[in-house]
């Protein structure tokens, strides 16, 4: 199974829905709430996000090496289906 990690905001309802999606699908994930980090840590995260392109928009979800920015369950489904198929 692909590793799932994400950057989120504690104030963002779509980040909350994204976490719930992975919980409901029994897929382990790690997350970091950007807004609750120190300034130094936020700057590191900002660099990482901008290096992959785009703005500082959340949720920012890595499924394996694939990046999905935003609440997009159809895209999560698609990437997880590939992940499940390759694990067989």
């Amino acid at each position: 199974m692909k590793k799932v990690s994400m950057y989120t905001l504690s104030t963002c309802p779509w980040c909350r829905k994204t976490k719930q999606y992975f919980t409901d699908h029994n897929i382990p994930f790690q997350y970091v709430d950007y807004d609750l980090q120190s300034v130094q840590e936020q700057e590191k995260i900002e660099q990482e996000m901008k290096k992959r392109g785009g703005a500082l928009s959340f949720p920012w979800v890595l499924i394996g090496d694939d990046l999905v920015v935003g609440w997009n369950p159809a895209k999560y489904d698609e990437l997880l289906a590939v992940s499940k198929a390759s694990a067989r």
């Binding site: 309802p13 703005a55 959340f58």
Partner: protein, 121 residues
């Protein structure tokens, strides 16, 4: 700060600002209420009602582009999605906001480039 009163003020003010842009509040009242509450808290903590779904940085100019309603700074991107990033506002013709996924700026730009032009950010 009285959060309930501030939410009412923001709702009144925002409605007047977004209507001429072709937007309205999301018909999802629970979502709108939650987002306005978060914006009230962000305003109290950081001085302006920033978007709850975009990150603040140490760059003041960048931060000003995510003060709600931030539609004018992201007009083409949001018009493409028919919603703003956090979903507080949707195009006036939208009745089912759940049908509108968030589309990243990168994906929007790729789609736009494929059609032959780009948006400055």
């Amino acid at each position: 700060m009285n959060v309930a009163a501030r939410k009412r003020s923001l709702r009144y003010f925002f409605a007047k600002v977004v209507a001429p842009l072709g937007y309205k509040f999301t018909p999802d009242n629970d979502l709108a209420d939650y987002l306005l509450e978060q914006e009230s808290h962000l305003e109290e903590a950081h001085g302006s009602p920033f978007c709850p779904c975009q990150g603040l940085t140490q760059n003041h100019e960048d931060n000003m582009k995510i003060v709600c309603p931030c539609i004018p700074y992201h007009r083409e991107h949001f018009d493409y999605m028919k919603r703003c990033w956090c979903g507080l506002f949707v195009h006036k013709d939208v009745t089912d906001p759940d049908s509108l996924p968030q589309i990243s700026y990168e994906d929007f730009r790729k789609a736009k480039d494929a059609r032959g032009s780009g948006e400055g950010r």
